[in-house]
Structure formats: C-alpha cells, structure tokens
Amino acid sequence: MIYVENKDLVIPGDVLADEDFYSGRGTFKENGQICSSLMGLVSLRNKKISVIPLKSKYVPKKGDVVIGKIEDVRFSMWDVDINSPYSGIIPSSEVFGRDKKSLSKVFDVGDVLFLRVVDVDEVKKVKLGLKGRGMGKFKGGIIVDIAPTKVPRLIGKKGSMINMIKDKTGCKIVVGQNGLVWVRGEPKMEQITRDIIHIIEEQAHTSGLTNRIRDKLCLEIDGEIPDDLDEDFPEESRTSDFNSHSNRKHNKGFHKRLNKKDNSASKYELEKPKLENFKEELKEEIEAKKQAETKRNNDFISNLENIEKEKKSHKSHFEIGRKKSGFSILRDDE
C-alpha cells in the first residue's frame, strides 16, 4: 500500500508506503512502514521508493569526477577541497614515480583541478586521482558553484542542456559531480554562462526548462530568435538544430564547437594540458638546457682547437710568455 505518488513533495517523517516496497535512497524502514528521511521529491520505480533531496551536501563516492582546489601541500600528498564535508588527498604516486620532486612545483595551493575519486573508505577518507581523460589542472576561467543534486539537470539528457550552452556561448564548460562547474570563454560569455547555470539550478524541477534556457540564451547573445521552431519542442536535445541555428547567426569562432555530434563522449571535455603533456614540457626544458650546455662546451672546445692551430703556425712568436690560457693569443705584441 503506497501513500504517495511519483514527484510528490515529502518531508522527513512522512510515511510513504507499507512494507511490500523497497526502501531506496532518502528513506528508512520503521514499524513495517517506509518513511522519508529527507525533504524532497518521491521517485517511484517499480517497487523501489526513494526520495531525491532538494538540498544535500556532496558525499564523494568511488568513480565520481569532481573539481577540486588544492588546500595544502604536504610531504607526499596534496590536500584537496572538493566542496564536501570531506576533503580529499592526491597521493604523490599519482604524479611521480619513485623520485619525489618538489610537490608544489607541479600543483600549488590554490590550483583548481579536474579529478577522479579513486577510493572512499568507511570513515569517508577520500583518495583522488588524475588518471583519465581530461584530468588535470585548469588554466583561467571561472568556477560556478551549484547544488550537487542539480548537476544531472545541468547536463541534461545525454548532455543536451550543457551542450546547448556550450554551443551558444562558445565557452569551454566542465561539470564536476560535486557541484562545481568550470567555465572559460570570453569574459562576457562567462558571465552569461554563470547566470544561465544559476537559473537552471533554481528551476531544475520545472518542465520546459530546456526551451526556456534556449530562448534566454538567444535573447542574451543575439536578440530574440524568430519563432520558426515548433512550440512543443521535445525535452531531448536535437543538437543538430542548435548547430544550424548558430550557423545562421554567424557567431564568430563558435563554428569550431559545432562539429561535436558525440555528446556523451564530450561530456567532460577539457583542452588543458594533461599530465603527460606536463611531463613532456619538463623533458623539453631539460633537453633544451642540455643542448645549450653542450653547445657552450663545443664552442669552448672549438675555440681552444683554433688557438692550438694558430699557436702551431705562429710558433716562433709565442716562445715567450705563453700561458696555459688560450687568451694569451690576444696579446699580439710580437
């Protein structure tokens, strides 16, 4: 026997159903009844009842991808703030091999990174890692903070919402499951994106949001669009439509972004230098230094050789006052 319907608003202590149902997230069983433990919306799937909270803190779990900020650099690890009651660590083994160089040269306090949650133990100590597509340090851009529960709505079905925003504003956007979003583009576009993200957060539970956001984007960026699309636009994205739209509007530089049809793969797109790139950069630096050094050595040696040759040719002149240093040839006082 169930007392609520899907998408009903419930508060802690509300009785949802009798025992023949399964209790999911946000619910608990007591006295043969399933009750809600959170303030949120009922989610009813087959025989499983859960409650999706309106507000909740991000609790890290294995496999999540998050955006974190370095808080502290310790002897063999970094402390990371992941916008959660629990802070994470990146062990230095994620970056270095055997020899631990100075950690702050790689990531310093204040750096913002895109990370994967490698492991969470029973007392919620969080281990973070950098291995994976797009993981690494962010350069520039802004960070927008939203509630972690709204992240799925921000991304949309198969990335529909987030890709629409990316296309229209031309910004690079990376969404972390802990509610932090990194945006980088032209400053005005960054501000527009930030405002749009906040609107999505406020109205996440309403319907027809994708359309409203699309209209708002068009309004902000290039004046209201002419109503040549159908009134009842389906919630699922038709990215191709958006592409053709932007093409029509001739937004400079945005064309590059339009060729992405593969929404799911480009979910966590990051053009930033990955850690392999960083290693390469280090290698290149060292190489360059070596080359400069060898060049200096070679020059010096060839200089000496020249001096030897000259000495041989002018042997008579240099009987007197010949020193070890090659510079004596400059005193051509014979």
Binding site: P12, V15, S56, K57, S87
Partner: protein, 243 residues
C-alpha cells in the same frame, strides 16, 4: 460583558486554557546558511541556523562512525526587558544541552562519519517559552538543510496558572504561574525527547500538563510542515507558463 465558560475562565490575554499563541514559521530565511528557520510564537522571535555537515573542527567531537551536532542557544542582549549581558550563561548552556538531547534522537547521522553540524538558535525577542520554540525552529532548519531525519521534533510548554493547567504560557504567566512544563516530542511516534518541570505539581496535574503539551505540540507540528512545504513552493515560482 463577562463571559465565563463552563469549566475554565479565559486567561489574561483572552485565550482559552488550551489555546496556543499565534504562530508563524518560515523556512529558508538565511541565504548563507545550509538550513535556516524563523519562528514567531506570541512575542517570541527566534532565528535558527544550521551549518553542516562539515569537517569537524573540534577533535574531541570527532566520531568515526557517525556525525555529531553542536547546539548553541543564545539570547540577544535586546531580546528581554532588561538588557541581558551578551555571552553564554548557565541557563543558555543548560538549554543548549537539552536542545541537543531533544534533537539527536530524530537525526540519522551514520551516513556522515567524522562530520559536525553546527546549530545556532538566536532569540531576538523573548516572551516565555523560548526553549520550546527554539527546538521547533532548529528542527525546521535541520530539515531545510537536508539532514536525514526520522521525524521533525516539535516543542510546546504547558503549565499551571492560577490553579489551572494551561497551554503555552506567555511571559506573564511564566513569571507569575505555579509551574512550567516544557515538552518536545517526535510527532509521528509520540516519543518525548525533552521533558522538564519547574514548580509544584501533583501527579494528576503533571499528567494533565504533559498531555496538554503534547496536544499543543501536534498543532505546532502542522505549522512546521506547512512552512517546509511552502519553502519548496517558493522556489518553484516559474516566470513563464506553469505546465
């Protein structure tokens, strides 16, 4: 015209023996806090805020298997007739402790080990019955913050005034009455999580006072639930079409 009811007469402020003072509760009033609530009961004005769960900054509070709460009840210097010196005093510490004990049975914190929840109850204007109203406010703030709870604790006080057992004592009744019995319950199961007595009562009077207080609590609980549901409705105001 003097109106005398069959059994009990009206009180000084015109209420019946089992009538509550006007109550107003609003959830989510502080933007910066994770959860917040504002409660007005009669002349009481109480603001509660919840921060957490967050990393416990006090090592002695840290528990590896569950989260913990830290409650601070405070009266603002301007909340009473004669200026109250700021800072915790014995009464505030006592009330903080009993509020913790009143709220804890309702919370389910096993999912947040090593974390701390800071609860702050600030009395801006006091008019009798602040500890019950404080717990009521804190409970709404906790629900607003998304902390998992078994139920929403609610508080109300009963007492003895002029020989009669009455509900929800006002300031005057509290000061001049013979007894004060604050009660906090978990409305779904009726479990009592706070019970104090101040004054002299016979066994029957005590029982009567508790029952009356529980009735009052159930009434206040309705207002709490309304407040939480209204909070959600406020955020769903869509500018354009409803659909």
């Amino acid at each position: 015209m003097i109106f005398i009811s069959e059994e009990k007469k009206l009180r000084a402020d015109g209420r019946a023996y089992n009538e509550l003072r006007p109550i107003k509760i609003e959830a989510g009033v502080l933007e910066r806090a994770d959860g917040s609530a504002y409660v007005e009961v009669g002349g009481n004005k109480i603001l509660a805020s919840v921060y957490g769960p967050k990393e416990s900054y006090l090592r002695r509070f840290l528990r590896p298997d569950t989260g913990v709460i830290k409650v601070r009840y405070n009266m603002a210097p301007f909340s009473v007739d004669s200026r109250k010196r700021p800072g915790p005093d014995r009464r505030s510490n006592e009330i903080s402790k009993i509020t913790t004990d009143a709220l804890l049975p309702a919370l389910m914190l096993e999912g947040y080990p090593r974390s701390l929840i800071d609860i702050s109850i600030e009395v801006i204007a006091a008019e009798g019955g602040t500890r019950c109203a404080g717990v009521t406010a804190a409970a709404v703030a906790l629900a607003d913050a998304g902390i998992p709870m078994r139920d929403i604790p609610v508080g109300c006080a009963a007492g003895k005034m002029d020989g009669d057992i009455v509900l929800d004592l006002s300031e005057v009744e509290d000061k001049t009455g013979q007894a004060d019995v604050p009660v906090v319950i978990l409305p779904r199961t009726g479990e009592i999580t706070l019970l104090q007595t101040d004054g002299n009562l016979t066994d029957e009077e005590f029982e009567e006072a508790i029952n009356l207080a529980i009735e009052g609590c159930m009434e206040v609980s309705k207002v709490q639930k309304e407040a939480l549901k209204d909070r959600y409705l406020r955020t769903t105001e869509v500018p354009e079409e409803e659909e």
